[in-house]
């Protein structure tokens, strides 16, 4: 669900990061306030136009919401049963559109530009001794560790398979915890060494 920036020169790419974040906020708020199948229909049109303007095809759009498939599979029948098909379309549609719109922003905006906006928005927090750059760093790290943890999980799964302990939860959890702690210690050292903690 976290998309990596794809370079481009489209209007969407050139739009300032702050404006895109504001548009994303407005879009998702509108979806939530006027939650209905019609809003979802209009929202779908907006997202499709946004992706087309940014030069991305339907494959990129589907890939950006694909990680939601299991949630959708559970949510649709549950919401249908709870409030009928309109409710299912409105709630699940809103969720999918919000993720797709957020993906469009991250696909067309450099992380550094997003962090700059965040720094500016959070600047008033300096008055209560909160460092906005530290919060930006935290967000960048949260996004960064996702692929690292996925790689780590693959390694641990392979090791578990190699030892013939595929079904052992302990053989998965213990090395994951140990390696995650090790990684975070090395990451901490690297951040200090890069002067990002000063």
């Amino acid at each position: 669900m976290i998309s990596v920036y794809q370079p481009g020169s489209s209007l969407v790419h050139r739009t300032p990061a702050g404006l895109k974040l504001l548009a994303l906020l407005g879009f998702t708020t509108a979806l939530l306030i006027w939650r209905s199948p019609i809003t979802v229909g209009i929202g779908t049109l907006v997202v499709l136009i946004g992706f087309a303007f940014a030069g991305f095809g339907i494959r990129t759009l589907i890939a950006s919401v694909w990680p939601l498939r299991w949630i959708v599979l559970v949510l649709v029948p549950f919401q249908w049963w709870l409030g009928g098909w309109r409710s299912a379309v409105a709630i699940v549609g809103t969720l999918i559109l919000a993720v797709a719109a957020a993906a469009l922003v991250s696909l067309t905006t450099r992380m550094t530009d997003l962090l700059d906006v965040l720094d500016r928005v959070l600047a008033p927090l300096r008055f209560i001794r909160v460092d906005p750059e530290r919060i930006s760093l935290l967000i960048a790290l949260s996004i960064r560790v996702v692929p690292v943890m996925v790689d780590l999980m693959h390694d641990v799964r392979d090791a578990r398979r190699a030892r013939g302990t595929e079904r052992s939860l302990r053989a998965l959890a213990t090395p994951m915890v140990v390696r995650t702690v090790g990684y975070s210690q090395r990451l901490g050292d690297a951040l200090v060494a890069r002067g990002l903690d000063d």
């Binding site: 760093l137 990684y183 690297a190 200090v192 002067g195």
Partner: protein, 226 residues
């Protein structure tokens, strides 16, 4: 100039450095020693990642324990595992991230990023996802992220451990061509055999200190390896 004056350090009960005194002024300095000999701890003291229990470390007259920020503006550090050094999703962004606290405008940041990418041979990778690089390319990126800040000293703690022969050569040639003072901790004697000075660490003490070839020969004798 890096000065160690009667430096000692322990991790709990384990004594890792004992009475280290030396002044490092040469351009290319290697540190070798067996696993657990204390060489990495010694290197980490140079930019304040580890503070000595006894004695003092000074970098250009600055104490890394008390003046860490100023020291880290001069001293950069490269680790064995480049994955732990990469913070941002793309190559260009990760390099630019090092410059966040330098108050540069976007154009200056872009210019310096492109220049350092060209230097390490990663030009054309500016928008490439960092986690999809090969191990060698990740190490080159890690090197680029520190070189972009223009340090005067570069400490490298086994930077080629996870690399194949070709990538090891590439990193070694790149390091050799840099204008910075290099402190290279390694097990690969080929990398430092022509260095100006090589320290051999054994059980927390400097047991040999001389020109590259001389210290490497001493170390081979010490290990009993021809």
């Amino acid at each position: 100039m890096i000065e160690f004056d009667h430096v000692g350090h322990s991790f709990g009960e384990r004594r890792v450095l004992e009475d280290i005194t030396c002044t490092l002024t040469e351009s290319r300095i290697g540190i070798i020693g067996a696993n657990g000999s204390g060489k990495s701890t010694l290197a980490r003291m140079i930019n304040g990642l580890v503070h000595p229990d006894e004695g003092t470390v000074l970098v250009d007259g600055l104490d890394p324990a008390r003046q860490g920020r100023q020291v880290r503006q001069r001293v950069s550090f490269i680790f064995s595992d480049p994955d732990a050094q990469i913070v941002m999703p793309t190559v260009g962004e990760d390099i630019a991230f090092s410059l966040r606290r330098r108050s540069l405008n976007a154009e200056e940041t872009r210019e310096r990023t492109n220049a350092v990418l060209e230097l390490v041979g990663l030009d054309g990778y500016v928008d490439h996802p960092a986690h999809l690089l090969s191990s060698g390319q990740k190490q080159l990126l890690a090197l680029a992220t520190v070189l972009v800040t223009e340090p005067s000293i570069l400490v490298c703690d086994e930077p080629t451990t996870l690399l194949d022969l070709r990538n090891t050569r590439e990193i070694a040639e790149l390091l050799q061509a840099l204008p910075q003072q290099i402190i290279l901790v390694t097990h690969d004697l080929d990398l430092i055999s022509d260095y100006d000075r090589v320290l051999v660490i054994d059980q927390g003490r400097i047991v040999a200190d001389g020109a590259g070839a001389e210290s490497c020969a001493f170390y081979r004798d010490l290990l009993g390896v021809p």
